[in-house]
Symmetry: D2
Subunit: 382 residues, 4 copies
């Protein structure tokens, strides 16, 4: 008869698209609908057909044609996973806030049925989506892990199988109530990552926070870093996200006209990618005036660094100029996380402007170190 259900875990795989499931057509990669499950069924490390038949798995799980089971894990668990494939499959370059909302809704819809969720997604905007989902999911109590690959799973040399397998093993067996991103043997907090390499299997980096786990010969967790919910509130999602937000990177010679054009209505919030520790030209009255005017009409601006690593605080001089112009210090947030947070907070119509600004300056999902006071002994801020 079937093995005791206690040893089984269920994971929902939401296949939104991306390189992992693409196929070459005339040297161009394109999504291939309804193909992924067929391939997974043939891969010994990703499906154990013997177990499925012995346990009459397909009689118990729904829909059977999209359900598979991993070989027995080292923790003596059977991870049964069901693939929910989007139609049409999406190229991650084309992802919008509506797609984020759809993913969130699918997590919510199936929240009780599954122990964890894996989201297959293209790598190009995976860091943006992971950041967005981290805010859209309120009181998350189960793992939601985004993954994908640099090379399609159908290719001979590919990173898709390892990435999917690792994500499934973690989503099905460990209590990590976070939106994560798993790639190349590492589990990251989703709102801490950025894509740093277009050509390497090691495509992502979490520059300001160590990985939550390393899946080498052994899987080792940094449990001190994993998010601990301090509430028993029920999971729900916020699907509305404000679309009138943008990313603006400073560069030498940027004109007030460019800034004004970028900030013009309907823009409601921007992440300003500044220099170093949050610096901008402080002798450019015209620029600062544009920032001030935007702030005055209610546009919210977050000051993030264009450096890969590091933090923006209000204690620096040129940072102070921006702070005086109304910008909020983005601390050590990635631009991707700051943009998603802005979109999330600006959509809260019941909040006042001040409440939104306050919320943006607080740590909501581990996306930043809220206060740097006391954490470091600076040579520069004596």
């Amino acid at each position: 008869g079937p093995v005791s259900p206690a040893t089984e875990a269920r994971v929902l795989v939401i296949n939104t698209g991306g390189t992992i499931g693409m196929v070459y057509h005339e040297n161009v990669l394109a999504p291939q609908p309804n193909a992924l499950v067929k391939t997974l069924r043939k891969l010994l490390i990703l499906h154990d057909e013997t177990y499925a038949r012995q346990t009459c798995l397909y009689d118990y799980y729904d829909p059977p044609e999209n359900t598979m089971v991993l070989p027995l894990s080292k923790q003596n668990k059977r991870i049964i996973y069901t693939v929910l494939e989007y139609s049409p499959l999406l190229d991650s370059c084309n992802m919008t806030t509506d797609d984020w909302a759809q993913i969130a809704k699918d997590i919510e819809k199936h929240y009780e049925e599954y122990d964890g969720f894996v989201i297959l997604h293209g790598t190009d905007t995976m860091a943006y989506t992971a950041s967005a989902l981290s805010f859209m999911c309120e009181h998350l109590g189960k793992p939601v892990i985004l993954t994908g690959s640099q090379v399609p799973i159908y290719e001979m040399r590919n990173d898709g199988r390892d990435n999917l397998l690792g994500a499934l093993l973690i989503a099905g067996q460990f209590v990590i109530p976070e939106v994560c991103l798993y790639f190349h043997h590492k589990l990251y907090r989703g709102n801490r990552v950025t894509k740093v390499d277009a050509g390497s299997f090691n495509a992502f980096s979490s520059p300001n926070l160590a990985p939550l786990a390393n899946a080498e010969v052994d899987i080792s967790f940094n449990w001190d870093t994993v998010w601990r919910a301090n509430t028993t509130a029920k999971f729900f999602i916020q699907t509305s996200m404000n679309r009138n937000v943008g990313l603006l990177r400073l560069f030498p010679g940027i004109t007030a006209e460019t800034v004004r054009a970028f900030l013009q209505p309907p823009m409601e919030g921007i992440v300003l990618e500044t220099y170093g520790s949050g610096n901008a030209p402080d002798n450019r009255a015209d620029l600062l005036e544009e920032f001030r005017k935007a702030t005055d009409r209610g546009v919210i601006m977050i000051n993030c660094t264009q450096c890969l690593r590091g933090s923006v605080t209000e204690s620096y001089a040129t940072g102070k100029a921006l702070s005086n112009a109304g910008l909020i210090a983005g601390c050590d947030m990635t631009p991707e996380a700051a943009l998603a947070k802005l979109s999330y907070v600006l959509a809260k119509q019941h909040l006042s402007l001040d409440e939104k600004r306050k919320m943006l300056s607080e740590n909501l999902r581990g996306e930043m170190i809220a206060s740097l006071q006391g954490a470091k002994l600076s040579l520069r801020d004596s």
Copy 2:
């Protein structure tokens, strides 16, 4: 009497400003005019007063009050350096194309008198300035090395002394006819670097090209990488740079309105920071239409990746959409280098649009690998 001139080398240090020469005033860093030389004179590793007096150095070099001499180097050279300090000192956040032109003019003015040039500069926009100078200097035959520090040279723990000393030793002793950036024991090609860390002494990275030299216990050069001039043409500078250029980073949900506003006249050229290997939304006819319209009216756009590492080629599908919309593949250029190159090429008024586009797609100063064909064996472009 004075030591044989054959053993001496002369370096001009152009102090444009930056953290290296700043001082704290009420916890805020501010430039301190006319202070750097006084401090350097007191530092044993940066000035040998005994030698200066024994050789009557101040009688020979001009102006004496700004001239110093390093202790004898391991290569048995005496590097005599003169500091030319800008007034006012500049915060690198405030640097403009005019400032780049001033630096270039000062190099040209003193080109024959010195064996090499060191440019002291703030770190925040040093990568932009290094890129710009690399294009502005034509047929450069001597080293021009930008450096600076994360912590002022007046502070107890600081990186300014090591950075200045290393830059002087290389500028005075080695034939490296390039605009370089020296930081934290490494010499980089100037148009290959980007600032990656706001809080570490190891602030810069050259993601797509190995350093030209490592200055550890020994100084070791990668001579295969160092630029070799294939001409004996005379050095000259181009000081005109087109200011109507900009950096635009793609993000999910970017609107056609934002793109149109950013591209509106007088904008003449932009670097588009795309996803991954040069991808953009290909189902966004509105966006592609904006790019196409801009191209049609003569705006030149370069496609660079927003990933730290990697390259944009025309062989990818979504890259092709941008290529069809008229964008030029930026290969493995940094956004900083691409922006500077655009500003440099667009200023060449005698060139036709097609000639400008052709020039932009070629390797001019080692800022990119011009052709990736044959260099790699791709899993993706069969």
Copy 3:
């Protein structure tokens, strides 16, 4: 009919044993004879049964039951590989010089039939074997690539498939006339590696030489580093290796008694792992006396550093003490390479002691930078 033979390449896989082919028995890993091929046949990325049948592959290649074919590669090649499995399978901890000779003989025996060779081997002593084979193979004109894995190929999460696949693709398609080691997406020169991590998939490092190739999304080669034969001499092997060699690591408080015991006959050569740049106690007349006595009776000693990175030269003071005691500077050789080289050279009975010492101080197979003079500008050796 069968595809044109011109598009096919043949690789011999010599399976000596190791973790890659082990299975758990009561929580203990043990070799599993005659199992690897059965598993490889079921893995889609490692065998294309359809092609094999369509081309009547098994009629052409021998022995058919151990022959497989990879899917079509990006370079449009079919790599047909045959597994030669040792019986009994060996744990790499148990490898001896006889086993090295057996591998070399099998390469020689099949040299003309195959385009390249892959050696499956346990990771624990893989660096020693790779070093030994690099010397035993004279005038090698085809790739010999050692690989293996940290986790058995039969496990769900494993590195064996990627490692074997990468080694096959390189061995079958590229002209790299070296003994190499392929692991975790990198191809190294075999006599340059050392195992640095017991628990990571990234188990090997080549501390003093950059990898020959990186197999990420694309495979990129450092062709400047790949060995170029400057001869058309015919391939042959030297199977005799001197066994009376050893590795001795210095430590504070090491006694002359310990050294004397270690150096006593029949010991004929040792690699001394010294401190830093080749230093040893220079106030320990008793130790130096033991070294001197050993040298005087014909024992050859090579001075290598116990640091992971760096080089031993004769220009250092304490290094000079050892040089005076008769030790040969090991430059930047790994201890593994130095031991193998010693074993190889000492087996050349027709050579005089001086000829052996001279040969040991020369670069034979790219295992070291023979002369560091001029390569670096030292702060220490003015």
Copy 4:
């Protein structure tokens, strides 16, 4: 009058010798007695003569000629340090257990007078000495920080000033009751480091434990890692160390004769550097017999890996063979730490053999992770 003593901290600098204080004589580095203090007095970042005179410092501290004061730190402290120079100065290659005892005695002698201790030491054996001192110091309540340099402090480009300054600032201002090693901007636990690079300023690595602190632009501590004393017992030192200990590295073809010779009396304990996760030849009855015989006559052997990173546990098969032969699992200890621990424990004459073995398998000073059970989820130990 003098500044309030509350803002001053006192550090004792014990200058044992090493490259940091060496000078070139005919291209050979040699120690230079009584020179370091004279140089330090002239370095602005390492001595503030104005403050010393204003506060009549030399009237208060003893001996005045060897006492200096740092400029005001960012934490508003004045660190007053006194240099105690050994005569003769020692080359670290020549260090013995007697020298370790001397250092420990000097710490004990001055323990109450100073807030922290800095030990200047050559880099070659610094990891051995740091390990030894960590065991010799019982109930340490103040920081003891070893440092030194790759290039003499008298050279133009050198790492000695930064290393000494960083060590002084940490020793004088933070509660880190450990024997540490500070090098190239990082503070490590002393018994966790090994010298990994003979030619880089970044010479040390702590492969199995993250640094205790990073001293970049800011100094940031990993307070979770810093040792917390769980006792109020009084500090004391154990100066006796057993000298009959050794390091033996396995290599293919090692003979039983070599092992027997190495293990012969008076050897009482050895660290065996095994392969990978603690493996040795398990088909070599002759070798295992030698280990067994040694164990039977009371020799204690610790099993450490020769890999830079990783751990030895008793759960592996070939490790079990060694465990059966009586070896103690060294977990993730460095060979340097294991050797020092062995020397320390074997000197405790009041302990029985079993008590010594038990002590050696426990975590005494943070030198190892005592129990790996539960810390990792292994693919290999299901």
